[in-house]
Symmetry: C2
């Protein structure tokens, strides 16, 4: 029984949904977490008290595999319609896309309220905004030591570790008590390019009393403490020293601490670093400007210069460790990169965790790399990636520091939220004081007590596809799924407007169904069937030839299923001439 | 640096492709491994010597996520076209779908050669054949102790462990030496419902000399020995004893040893077992008939009877641990099962490894289960699944027993093949004697020497979709991908055959693109554009109105992209009236 965790047969969590009647609506602090996807509870948190609303983070989420063509999903904020005047501000914890990605779409709809965030996050948000038509944003830069008064809310901040600079935890003092929102976080005693978390401030906040802690669940199912970014550095240095060929490091464009480390090691060992990937380059640029990445002159080279140096001198830092189709690593691997191709002896380091859903794509990428003679190092083999999120023991330490009365797991699917809840319970927080809320489910707090209500604000999907926001509905998605599975067949018949008789020969067009050139018989038989159906046409035809259209759809569909066991989408077109 | 494997910076494998000219083609033994997917090297192995061909396994593979609508992929055996008379037989190592699934499609095309396999595998193959129109198969049942003479090949077998009964290893004595094909295997000293592998026979085969060993790579990247099925039993018994509610065990329909164990534990503890899932039930039936699963009368109950017993007495054994859409566990979870729904206190045991690509689906399934008050036990948490494949130390032991001169990793993606190659190298097989072959790449052996040639037999995808085999081409798939991403728009214009002038108003139909009801303006503007393009129509129009069609496709496509940043498939239809 290797790898065996302790059996956790803990009893099912009971949800406490008592709603004491004695508090008026105006007295109550409401908290809602609205996510992109149902069951996920992330991306955006709303706090409402009387006429004051603050928003923490407006992120985006990437689509599931059954959402073809969707670029991403943003939170549904229709609850705020008509309440725009109450919004005192948006507070951004850090500059990752799942915390800032919804801003360009949603900020204008909310009436451009002030966005409070650090200088670094502000620069990233502004840079991204350049891709959108509406450039206007109302950003107010703050530091971790500032305090804000936003209506009846007083807000302060604390410094916390994550894998992007200037990440904040948010402390909201409300008339009903203090609420702490962690953002994404881990404790890192030896971070790269920054300070450890501010334990002293956290302890002070805890001593003054915390009503509710909303905390990141992403890695709460993992034992122990998250490893430090510095430990990664040791491993990287070893790999870079040991290699006699080029090193290609694939990672996230936003993983700035990783970029910094690779560049620092290159400086130390006298190697050159070429950075490629649009957002990686712009993030590096911002970080250099702000002093988060320091680099000797001459260390950074252009991708065009890679071949000017001997292989053992070259490190390439690029995007695409998730196997993203258009990212740099994929292009290099598939000989689609302008300057660089894989050569035998290259070492490819995948310095990122695998986002669920990308496993097969990454495996295929690795297969191609291995076939071309490259060596692969992944996080399974060596510690070349440290997650940015608190593991169970980090959560425990946070609970000891903040001593909250109520605990609300956020940031994670239902399974992870429950795991995080279990950690809090193991630390003595009573089960009834832990709220595992649905997406959009309203939590209320008053007079030092809290409860999870049965009310849900609107929180269904808002899809972004190209320039369209929310214009792809479930109907459009269902059509796309159907088209993807078996393709489609357009059946065009011309009908004489007066006699109702078929004119000429019906046209059959299909895509994604069968290879037409090799299935002429099937098409010919379909045409015969269409002719028969059109000739049998009931003279009492409904307007718009609806009767004939439905009959064509049904009969052609049934005929093709019988012949092929496929169900293409049938589109009958009837034209009166 | 926890979880750190030894750094493996081994040099790139050099492929040895020497082809000594002094051997005639007739003297050479050729071996080709043909897979469903490129780079995979599995599913089907061909051995050819002079006019004699034998085939080992004809499996299927499940599609990748960029192959919408495809049911599965079967090996490309077009190399055998015209050589049907040389095929001396198909030998099946064991009854898993990835080893038998191509039989119904390919056996008739090969002229129904004899299929040699054990009684158990024969029963599974015959049962599956009932789903196909052509029922005829030429199966010859054999036992592990039989010998076959197939042309110039003499074939014997040895008993090996896997997680389905009567799994065989294949020993082919050829005029050029002995080739061993392991099938899927592990060593299990304490298997469930069978004997440990036949070490004595393996040692004897090794002592007589093995030219080449073709061996399973699936788990070759994992250290140590595979755990035994019996160890799983201990964990299962603990879980079943500890639970005060119902237990639902999801696993593979073909994982017979697991089913047997659960039923045996139920017998021992006086619980009832309801089994559900079409192929799981039929596999259980076959196993009971052959004595592989013994069960007390009254232990097995019908799904309809589940509610007649107290929850703590009930175990449900079902398919769906991979989150398959129509499998039993999914239906139970989504309240779509006729008899059983999830109730608080249920414990769901996922007793299978996660097949790459299914992670997100399984995660969503777990989320729903947790939300309904169920407890989840997965293989990450406890050892509730033992893989059926050899880990590195198993491979080493096999190499010590068989002492092959050449080693050919099979069954696995390129990465795993290379890992398996590295294991063989670490055991002293020279790099030049290890062939990591492409899919379809020809290996040749003569006079006690072998080489990997540069020749490849045809091995590209053969897709099965509904009743069609091989009729979905890459073109059809590309269309499906395009339709899935942005949907499609059909543009219908009527043209006066004599004047070339537009007749009436163009028709615009779209699916999967935008929600039409909410985008009437966009459709109206498209119609205007179509009218303009059709009126501008060049009088020197190509036949079939090809010029106008191309112009419509280009201009409508560009217009819609500008307005939406989406690229729906544009289908222009021009009808002359």
């Amino acid at each position: 029984m290797k790898n065996t965790k302790t059996t956790k047969l803990r009893p099912r969590r009971k949800q406490h949904r008592r709603k004491p009647a004695r508090f008026s609506n105006r007295e109550k602090l409401k908290i809602m977490v609205v996510g992109g996807l149902e069951e996920v509870g992330r991306n955006c948190t709303l706090l409402e008290y009387g006429d004051d609303i603050i928003i923490i983070d407006i992120g985006l989420q990437f689509p599931e595999e059954d959402m073809p063509g969707i670029d991403y999903i943003i939170p549904n904020l229709s609850y705020l319609k008509g309440k725009e005047k109450n919004i005192r501000g948006i507070i951004i914890t850090h500059a990752h896309l799942d915390h800032i990605g919804g801003i360009p779409h949603l900020s204008p709809k909310l009436g451009n309220p002030p966005i409070f965030t650090t200088r670094f996050s502000s620069a990233v948000i502004k840079k991204r905004q350049e891709d959108f038509e509406n450039k206007r944003l109302n950003i107010k830069e703050i530091t971790k030591d500032d305090q804000l008064v936003l209506g009846k809310f007083r807000v302060e901040f604390y410094h916390i570790n994550h894998n992007i600079p200037e990440s904040l935890g948010i402390v909201v003092h409300t008339p009903q008590g203090t609420v702490v929102h962690t953002g994404d976080w881990k404790f890192d005693y030896t971070p790269v390019g920054g300070e450890p978390a501010d334990f002293s401030k956290l302890a002070k906040i805890g001593d003054k009393g915390v009503l509710a802690l909303l905390s990141d669940s992403t890695n709460s199912d993992k034992k122990g403490h998250q490893i430090s970014e510095s430990e990664i550095g040791v491993v990287f240095e070893k790999i870079i020293k040991a290699s006699s060929g080029r090193i290609i490091v694939g990672t996230f464009a936003s993983l700035l601490s990783r970029m910094r480390q690779v560049i620092e090691i290159a400086d130390k060992l006298g190697k050159k670093v070429a950075v490629d990937g649009f957002s990686m380059k712009s993030n590096l640029e911002i970080s250099r400007k702000m002093g988060y990445v320091k680099v000797k002159p001459g260390t950074l080279i252009d991708m065009k210069q890679v071949d000017d140096f001997p292989p053992e001198k070259v490190i390439i830092l690029c995007t695409g460790a998730q196997g993203e189709g258009k990212a740099v690593l994929m292009r290099i691997t598939n000989n689609e990169h302008r300057n660089v191709q894989i050569q035998p002896g290259d070492t490819i380091v995948f310095s990122s965790s695998i986002i669920p859903g990308n496993e097969r794509t990454i495996q295929r990428l690795k297969d191609t790399l291995v076939k071309k003679g490259a060596k692969i190092i992944h996080t399974d083999m060596m510690d070349v990636h440290a997650g940015g999120h608190a593991k169970a023991d980090d959560v425990k330490l946070m609970l000891l520091l903040l001593k909250p009365k109520y605990f609300v797991p956020i940031e994670g699917n239902r399974f992870l939220l429950e795991e995080n809840a279990a950690v809090a319970e193991s630390m003595g927080i009573p089960e009834k004081n832990i709220f595992v809320a649905d997406n959009g489910q309203v939590m209320e707090f008053a007079h030092n007590r809290g409860w999870l209500t049965n009310n849900h604000i609107k929180s269904d999907y808002v899809f972004v596809d190209g320039l369209g926001v929310g214009d792809v509905s479930q109907i459009v998605l269902r059509d796309r799924q159907m088209l993807a599975a078996d393709g489609m067949v357009v059946v065009i018949t011309l009908i004489d407007g007066k006699t109702g008789k078929l004119v000429g020969s019906p046209d059959i067009i299909s895509r994604g169904f069968v290879y037409l050139k090799e299935n002429k018989g099937l098409i010919e038989d379909t045409r015969k069937l269409v002719r028969k159906v059109a000739q049998d046409k009931d003279k009492k035809s409904a307007p718009d030839n609806m009767y004939l259209k439905n009959k064509l759809r049904d009969e052609v569909g049934a005929f093709l299923f019988k012949r092929t066991e496929r169900r293409p989408m049938i589109l009958p077109v009837v034209i009166e001439v």
